[in-house]
Symmetry: C2
């Protein structure tokens, strides 16, 4: 463990280290404690054009599991020995970047660490007076943006159509379903357990909720979508995707956002045996990567903020206070479905 004196730090900071969570090994199945390594490094000093961010909140996302695998993907894998990639919120505590003043709150892919150096690329300034900080990792972050572009650009539900969302009590699903409702669609959520289902219908305004833990999802979906599913926003994959395909309507649109059921099996992904439903129904299945929409983040954030302010959109964050070393267990909790809404680690 290394400790360094920071001569250039403002305020009361004197001798501190930067604790970071690094990927030490590639996981097979669930990422156990053996895949992580905690290190303490010198807090870096910003060069010209850089800033130093003190991180306050770290996001936990199912997609992180994919980033840990050494495969060609939409983003390069986290390298062995590298700090784990994560969206985070923090405060600029030292800046030599003209676009970011000291004291600003910012969000970006800062990683699972206490302090991050940034050149400002992909960093957005956030306003803690407009919304609580964890929300910038949820409804106003990558999560909400994913739901927004998936629903508006790919799903495009028309009024009266039936939208079904899997992982509906999760961070992306809970926002996606509500956006479907705001666009005039009937919204059905699939979630695990009575409590989550009740939250969907009683608080978020979903028309119906299907508890997959009760079994026979296909029959429940047939009941909830008697004319077929028009839009299926998929965060789960596996059997639920096959069930949705079996109940798909003519011209249905499936948004492939994730496949949390398949990330940690340690086995080959289960392909959707009912995929020919796409053919029979002239339907489509389209992948969504939110990073493609970066030039429209502002438009989307404005709309999401307006819906939130009007009370038309309800965001929920599950904030856990802890240190960097709390991250590995929280990630396992996320995959176990232990949280409702957006799971965020708030650094103490």
């Amino acid at each position: 463990m290394f400790m360094y004196a920071l001569s250039a730090m403002p305020g009361s900071v004197s001798t501190i280290s930067n604790r970071e969570l690094r990927l030490a090994a590639r996981p097979r199945g669930l990422p156990g404690p053996n895949v992580w390594e905690l290190t303490d490094e010198e807090v870096p000093e910003p060069a010209t054009g850089e800033m130093l961010v003190k991180i306050s909140h770290i996001s936990l996302d199912p997609a992180m599991r994919g980033w840990m695998d050494d495969v060609r993907s939409y983003i390069r894998p986290v390298a062995l020995g590298e700090v784990m990639r994560a969206p985070a919120v923090g405060r600029v505590i030292a800046s030599r970047h003209p676009g970011f003043a000291e004291g600003s709150w910012v969000t970006g892919l800062f990683g699972v660490r206490q302090y991050a150096l940034s050149d400002g690329q992909g960093v957005r300034i956030v306003d803690p007076h407009l919304a609580p900080l964890p929300r910038y990792l949820g409804a106003l972050g990558i999560t909400g943006l994913t739901a927004y572009f998936g629903m508006l650009d790919i799903g495009r539900p028309r009024p009266g159509e039936t939208v079904v969302v899997s992982g509906a009590a999760g961070a992306v699903g809970s926002i996606a379903g509500q956006i479907g409702r705001l666009l005039g669609a009937r919204t059905v959520g699939i979630a695990g357990g009575g409590e989550k289902c009740q939250w969907l219908t009683d608080t978020l305004g979903f028309e119906e909720a299907v508890d997959y833990k009760l079994g026979n999802v296909r029959r429940a979906l047939r009941g909830a979508a008697p004319d077929g599913i028009d839009v299926y926003f998929d965060n789960v994959g596996g059997r639920l995707l096959d069930d949705a395909l079996a109940v798909l309507g003519v011209g249905g649109r499936i948004i492939l956002c994730g496949a949390i059921s398949q990330y940690n099996t340690g086995e080959r992904v289960q392909g959707p045996a009912n995929y020919l439903s796409l053919l029979v129904n002239r339907a489509s299945m389209t992948g969504l990567i939110v990073f493609d929409y970066e030039d429209r983040y502002d438009e989307a954030t404005d709309q999401l903020l307006a819906w939130l302010d009007a009370g038309a959109l309800i965001a929920r964050e599950h904030v856990v206070r802890g240190e960097i070393d709390a991250f590995p267990q929280l990630l396992l909790d996320l995959f176990a479905g232990a949280s409702t809404g957006k799971l965020v680690l708030e650094l103490v």
Copy 2:
């Protein structure tokens, strides 16, 4: 066996029967002889608004296998005891329909029979001087229209993009690949056997052909599409679809036209295990049913005819002369991949 005297028949027809092929049982796996029944019925007389067509050519299509299953689909299943559904070409030999004069050549879903009664719905007049009659079941029929709308409406290849077609030496695939080339794309065909592959490259102008019988299609596709597949026109499904998904490029479009590899297994369809490639690549997989485009058949036929006349598009029909009872074995030949181009039964 019934024979009737036809008083209203023109010309030399006197005492004839109408031999029809009916579905007697639902097949499991390949449709063996036990699923068929030949019957001889009275040749019907057209009522007002109807016409009688003497069939000359009957189409054989992989999609027919799906029509024989009792499942919800884009078209109702052929009922047990019903004449097998099939596109056909024939001549109007008696007409009480104002739109169809006696002596006209027509095409429609007349079925596997010698004579068909029709009210004209879905029937198009064809011109034997513009193209040989079997071609109206191939490049100028449902087959060519499927290739046309799949490529132009769903695939939309841009010049320089890479188009890969499975079942490329088949009726739909051979036209789809050529349309891709006409739109300026690099075209790669997957087919079974050296002869078919050579036909694709030497005669049809495909840039490359991959012989799936040689194995390791994935590696061959990586070589043929080093920047990834932009458009995959899928007639085959199964392993080849998984191979194509593995080599898909960013923004790739998969046209789901068929899945001939899965029709006769008698087992559950094999879902594409690599489907998350759609997510990683922001790609799409979209089902195509040609019947949805009926109001644009004329536009497409005009374009296909123009390409054929200019020699830019090459159509090949594999015409087998025989009687109605030749149909079952020909259908098995089709599934065995015995034909190149469009397989047609010409009634003697």
